[in-house]
Symmetry: C2
Subunit: 192 residues, 2 copies
């Protein structure tokens, strides 16, 4: 994924992400510098900036991959599948990929919850995910407000399921929580 | 509403809002200064800062009133009303109040659409509306994810109906668009 340029620094991206998150949890996001992140990862600042624009983007770099995954999952759903089902299947698939990163996700969430600027960035990321999903649904032929509604509702469900997942005391299954939350949404919108 | 302190400056708040929006449309948000807004309104900068923290807040000051209105509408809905219906009724009520401000809302929306920072502020405002609605639903006894889902879905519906309203070429009825969008959401989540 990182191409040839990082061959002499095995998994530099992952090491930087890990180091950054450790430092954000230990000292707070504001207090941590890029120099400290690079040092903790055993890499240089120059290497850091090869992967990330700034220390904030370390927390959000995965968003582009997630968006790409969701959009192509929606695009490849069979024509017969309703918009909300295409969105639900895409999000369950993303949930399965995230499932193994629960510890990382929990700590990331705690860092974000402690910083208003990071919360804003997360909201923007979610809004852009919803726009991308709506565009993918329109590509498949969804018309009128159905595309936007399915996309926005899907992201709301994902957000709520994700919060239940990271906040859970046992080891909950994220795809299952997403599925349950879509069922909950159906019941809620039906006035139950 | 503005109390005794503005008695010698009739409707200072409204004049400042109007002047600010005119200037944002004419010259752009970034290019407009508080001094220019005050001058256009025939008031002083000091008066401006009595009402607004900065030039951005002129566009968002109404958000607090909207939130208060929605929360009290949800709180006063009869116990027998389902969460999504309480949210829908509250938003339709807000739509009726906004209906007469369509021209203002259209121009405000255009200013926000042209500026990334304002779009972020708008997203934050919508997220905080959703949180406030979810809290109001929990106060009424909604449990588990139903409160959050009804609130988040309601705000998504409101956002989409609002966009249809300001973007419409005729003079559409906002409460009716909100009602239709809730019906659309119901159909969408049922997999139609």
């Amino acid at each position: 994924m990182i191409g040839g340029m990082g061959r002499w620094e095995p998994n530099a991206r992952g090491r930087l992400e890990q180091a950054a998150l450790e430092l954000y949890v230990e000292h707070g996001f504001e207090q941590t510098t890029v120099a400290e992140i690079a040092a903790r990862a055993g890499l240089t600042e120059r290497t850091f900036f090869r992967y990330f624009a700034d220390k904030r983007e370390v927390l959000f770099a995965g968003g582009a991959n997630l968006q790409e995954f969701l959009v192509s999952a929606v695009a490849s759903a069979p024509d017969s599948v309703a918009p909300i089902e295409a969105v639900a299947a895409a999000l369950e698939g993303a949930g399965a990929l995230l499932q193994e990163r629960r510890d990382y996700s929990r700590r990331r969430q705690a860092v974000i919850a402690a910083n208003a600027g990071l919360q804003e960035r997360e909201l923007i990321k979610l809004a852009s995910l919803a726009s991308a999903l709506a565009a993918a649904l329109r590509q498949r032929g969804a018309t009128g407000p159905a595309a936007s509604l399915a996309a926005e509702a899907g992201i709301a469900v994902f957000k709520i399921a994700f919060e239940r997942w990271v906040g859970g005391t046992s080891q909950p299954d994220l795809p299952q929580l997403i599925r349950e939350s879509f069922d909950d949404l159906k019941a809620v919108t039906a006035g139950k």
